[in-house]
Symmetry: C2
Subunit: 387 residues, 2 copies
């Protein structure tokens, strides 16, 4: 197998991009990534696109072909990959494999979602497709409701408090201030969170990631060729994916995501690193409780101690590991199919020393963690400076 | 890169399977494939599932995780791949790559669609997502309408007749009689087609593939290990994919699918075979005109001669190449995400000498051709006896 590197990155602004269609978003991010790689489109061998619910959200499937067309890349094959909110990381995995296998030499990977064309109720319905529709969503469960169950149990078992949950949102907003692509670039306080409207007890609206339009893209090449494209290649040294039951009620534990633990274990083994080697991480904070469980399940902190660690500042600059420098899903926004690719873009910028205003000094190793639904899919990638 | 073989196959009956849910279908086909391979599920390293429009058709995305769960395969990663009606073949491509790369040793690939839970209008709307929604479907075009435009132009340019179109359906129904998994196992005549209701002139209802529930699965292994699982491995010697404009109106030609030609050229080169070496083929006959264009674009017949060749019996037993022994999409049915995988299953059975009642004698080389939408994605695989 060949080693794989990121040689180009691109993003759109995340937000309520009412003036941009799905195809506008993906073309903007894709062209930026290709331009950043210093290549022309006709050098690309293949593409993968992560999108969760384009059928329900914009009435469009077959988005691989749509993107090849609108990016002027025909007849290059572009394939859509879907795994709910982990779609972006799954697309990245397929891109990595295409290069690692030797089948392709230059691959563009994108993630995109256009979510603000519909009402909130319609978007909730579309996102509900990430859970077990027959046994969860049709019965009245929503995603805030499912994560609220996990939060409540985490509070009961480990003494996690609403302040600790709020501290995740406060930190991520603070980080997001410096990310010009973030949906929200404003700081908030713990009181902002605690005084905001309750969505599903104990989760307030500021405990939840927003509905977002956006796209992100990366260009992949074999590591051996990467230096001919860029002085600062970032190597993807590991890719781990795991599945768990789609319904939350079928699981042994409500306070951990087994799929995260298994995917991380695979990735650490493949990369030959341990959690303490990770200096910067983008983790899946679709709700504040999700980040707390993630930093525990990824091995950064012991089970039950994630909330306290966050409140004590251990996951921000100067702490043990800087988590969600981009602002995370909470502040940077969560265009579901794009999130996994955005994580890879942010980590590339960190490892290249480019994340202006939010740079983790001398970072050599980063980790991304992307979750589908309530944890039925988890994907972990590990990135290293390749220069 | 490692060589890749099919070591197990499984199908559900295709049809209006009102008693089976999406998950029932995929579990039935998957377990049959795994059983046929003589393995247990815990030996599987990864899975891919082709599904086009589960979001709109059954309200469910994230079907990779759903399937891992319902097949009892957790925590094995299963990833959904989508490219409209070519979703099944795209899933197969990713499975091939996973093995070829050395990343995985045993991969299960499935295709599934559950289409009969909704009204015909709702299904048409969901299928419309395969085209350019903003420029085609929202303006009133439907897939029968788009293919009717191609048929009309083919008739004008090459003298193709309604009888020639009908001959495709007649042949495929004749083949389908012997396929116990086919939706329709009854013969029809040219008059049946010509006297049937007009859907979009010149396409009658019998020129159109039906709405179908169904699933199909294959198990892949490295060729070097295949003989430890089966006495009759079938090698996948080539995989070609290409993209074209998503909207029909943007193309240079209405009578050929450029993506088919490019995907086929790639596949022939990779397999080091020519069209005349192909003894048995499963091609994408979503409408009768589609098969005529396919057998031309794949190089079996010269452009414009596909209709005449079909009418003269050159694409059935005793002819130059036996096309759609399964009954094709027309008679076997077209559960969109399943079709590409079903094609691989049928060709495996042919090359193993198992396709009872419809066996192509001494077949060594087969080809599958799967199209997304009106031709914006085309995928061609070539299969060889591996024993």
């Amino acid at each position: 197998m060949r080693r794989v590197a990121i040689i180009g990155t691109g993003m759109t602004k995340f937000g309520e991009n009412w003036e941009q269609s799905y195809r506008d978003l993906v073309v903007e991010a894709g062209i930026r990534a290709i331009t950043d790689a210093g290549i022309s489109g006709d050098k690309i061998d293949a593409g993968y696109i992560g999108t969760m619910a384009s059928g329900k959200l914009i009435g469009q499937e077959h988005v691989g072909a749509l993107i090849a067309d609108y990016m002027g890349l025909n007849p290059i094959p572009i394939t859509r990959v879907e795994g709910a909110c982990a779609s972006g990381s799954l697309a990245l995995r397929e891109g990595i494999m295409a290069i690692a296998s030797g089948m392709k030499d230059l691959v563009v990977v994108g993630g995109v979602e256009k979510m603000t064309d519909l009402s909130t109720g319609e978007v909730s319905d579309a996102l509900g497709g990430a859970g077990d529709q027959e046994w969860e969503l049709f019965m009245g469960a929503t995603f805030p409701g499912l994560y609220a169950l996990m939060a409540r149990r985490h509070m009961k078992d480990y003494g996690t408090t609403s302040e600790m949950l709020a501290a995740v949102a406060v930190k991520n907003h603070k980080h997001g201030v410096h990310n010009k692509y973030a949906q929200y670039q404003n700081e908030i306080t713990i009181d902002t969170v605690l005084n905001s409207k309750m969505v599903a007890d104990p989760l307030h609206v500021f405990d939840c990631s927003p509905i977002t339009d956006g796209a992100a893209g990366v260009v992949l090449a074999p590591m051996e060729a990467a230096e001919s494209y860029t002085k600062k290649p970032v190597e993807i040294v590991a890719s781990g994916q795991a599945s768990d039951t789609i319904a939350l009620s079928s699981r042994d534990s409500m306070t951990e995501l087994k799929a995260t633990k298994i995917a991380a274990e695979k990735a650490y083994t493949q990369a030959r690193v341990s959690p303490k080697d990770i200096e910067v991480a983008e983790v899946h904070d679709c709700f504040t409780i999700a980040e707390i469980m993630a930093i525990e399940d990824l091995g950064f902190f012991r089970k039950g101690e994630g909330g306290k660690a966050t409140l004590e500042g251990k996951t921000t600059f100067g702490g043990d590991v800087v988590v969600n420098t981009s602002g995370g899903l909470k502040a940077a926004g969560h265009p579901v199919g794009a999130t996994g690719v955005k994580q890879a873009v942010e980590l590339t910028w960190q490892l290249r020393g480019e994340a202006e205003g939010r740079r983790v000094k001398v970072a050599q190793v980063g980790l991304s963690h992307n979750v589908g639904g309530s944890g039925a899919t988890a994907v972990v990638h590990i990135f290293k400076r390749g220069y």
